[in-house]
Amino acid sequence: MSSPSSERSLNPFSLYRLQLILKHCLSFLKSRIISSFNTPLIHSKIFRRVLSLFIFFGVWQLLCMTKFNFFINFEFLPSPLEVVGATVQFFTNDPMQHIRASIVRVLTGFSIAAILGITLGILIGWFQQIEDLVFLPLELLRPIPAVAWIPLAILMFPNSEAGMIYITFIGAFFPILISTIRGVECTDLLLLRVGQCLGATQWHIFKDIVIPGALPSIASGLVIGMGNSWFCLVTAEILAGRYGVGYITWESYVTSNYPPIVMGMLMIGLMGAFSAYAVDRLTCLLMPWRVTKKQPL
């Protein structure tokens, strides 16, 4: 963690320079935007996406600078430039131990959730008896938010690391479980009949028809689960003693140091988005047969 005094000494100078850079950027962008409405640049997908980010941060900066206050108050909110300052601070102080700790927790929780969620989901989706035996207790646990698990996580697990992994697991487990159950249950009757007419045994129907048919649904469960795991990270790392991106976020809140909070939020957003994207790409590799391109209207 950074000490507040060093931050104060760093901020005025670097912030002033950053503000200048951003001003240049903004004026440049403004001229480009105006001209680009008549040029093919606006038709470029990458340009539009980069533009969306500039607009987002630009509007945010503007709201902070004008101390916008109409029902929602931006007066005390850290501006993007202050957040950049906090980020520079963070990256000069051995950032990898925090990032690594968070990634390991999320990936461990997610992996366990994926294995358990898919296995249990297939069993529940395929066997009525298993559904009858386990589904109601699971439904009872599902709406409980991650933060409510903190006291029990402390009581149940031998150390805080296991407790944190449990909370990231909880975040990923239910989306994966429900998507898998739905995927298996929604097997196309027509395709089951195809299998029967070709003399398929239960095993062949399961392996060649039910599982591949459920894959798209399982894949979206995994993508949502990955996002949710990161979603639960701040909650999980309330239990952390020293390291973790979520820990920094929570700790900064406790010490009323606001720019690092927003930085932590954005970093979690960034890592969550990236890992969900990675899961999406990986699962697409498993399904070369799927048509994923958006249909033009």
Partner: protein, 274 residues
């Protein structure tokens, strides 16, 4: 599936279908609806017959009962003297909807039945490639279903059923979703395959011309409840060319069938409007 192999070995000619006094009823909203009543017919080995009727006459239900998808509420179905109660590989089925497994390539789809039966890999690819060549799909063997046209998908579905050398091929309006030109091509292709293999075919359609062009016999079905209204011979010479449906005999037959079906359509509309 050993029983199937034994059966086909003992009976030299296979593909004898007997439908005896078949009735099917469904319960819907506590009401019992009689879909089929006393359907009785025999199809001899190697025959091509069409079940023709207006929509709602239960022609698909007859096919589903022979396939074993639907449990009869009365009567029996026998294929090669064996009582039908569950679906099996001795009755190949081609559905109206495109029904290739989306996650398998054309080759893997056609191969599926043989793989289930544990046929060796070299033997499998020999048989499958032969069939793929026959219907002009060999160069699309590595394509996934969504990359194929509707006609190609139905060709693949037909040979997927045929590689199992079934006793009878059941076809439920397989060409209904295709455009007219493709449909004619498919009908000719089907007849050429059938004349080589001499598999018994039971083909469901509501298209009179299609029935006349394809079949040896046409079973015209009536509605409320579904039953066989008339059995007509389609005595056109084989091999048949598309324009045979314009011959005087075919036109005569068409008119006869048209009148029979028209009566039933009017009857079913009257019931609907009640």
């Amino acid at each position: 599936m050993t029983t199937l192999v034994e059966k086909s070995a003992t009976s030299t000619v296979k593909g004898f279908v007997e439908v005896e006094n078949l009735s099917v009823s469904f319960r819907r909203k506590g009401q019992c609806i009689q879909v089929l009543d006393g359907i009785d017919f025999k199809v001899h080995p190697g025959e091509f017959i069409c079940l023709l009727g207006p929509s709602g006459c239960g022609k698909s239900t007859v096919l589903n009962a022979i396939a074993g998808f639907v449990k009869p509420s009365g009567g029996h179905v026998f294929v090669d003297k064996r009582h039908v109660d569950t679906p099996g590989a001795d009755r190949g089925f081609v559905f109206q909807q495109y029904s290739l497994l989306p996650w398998k390539t054309t080759f893997q789809n056609v191969e599926f039945g043989l793989k289930i039966r544990g046929i060796s890999k070299t033997k499998r690819s020999e048989i499958v490639n032969d069939y793929l060549n026959r219907v002009g799909l060999y160069k699309h063997r590595h394509s996934y279903p969504h990359q194929l046209s509707g006609g190609m998908q139905q060709r693949a579905s037909i040979i997927r059923a045929l590689v199992n050398s079934p006793s009878v091929l059941l076809m439920d309006e397989p060409f209904a979703a295709l455009d007219a030109q493709t449909r004619h091509m498919m009908q000719e292709l089907l007849l050429s395959i059938w004349s080589d293999l001499k598999t018994t075919v039971i083909f469901v359609t509501h298209d009179i011309e299609e029935a006349i062009f394809l079949s040896d016999k046409i079973f015209v079905m009536g509605v409320n409840p579904g039953r066989i209204k008339a059995v007509l011979d389609a005595p056109l010479d084989r091999p048949r060319h598309v324009d045979i449906v314009l011959s005087p005999e075919a036109v005569q037959l068409n008119r006869q069938v048209f009148e029979l079906i028209r009566e039933e359509t009017i009857k079913s509309m009257e019931v609907e409007s009640l």
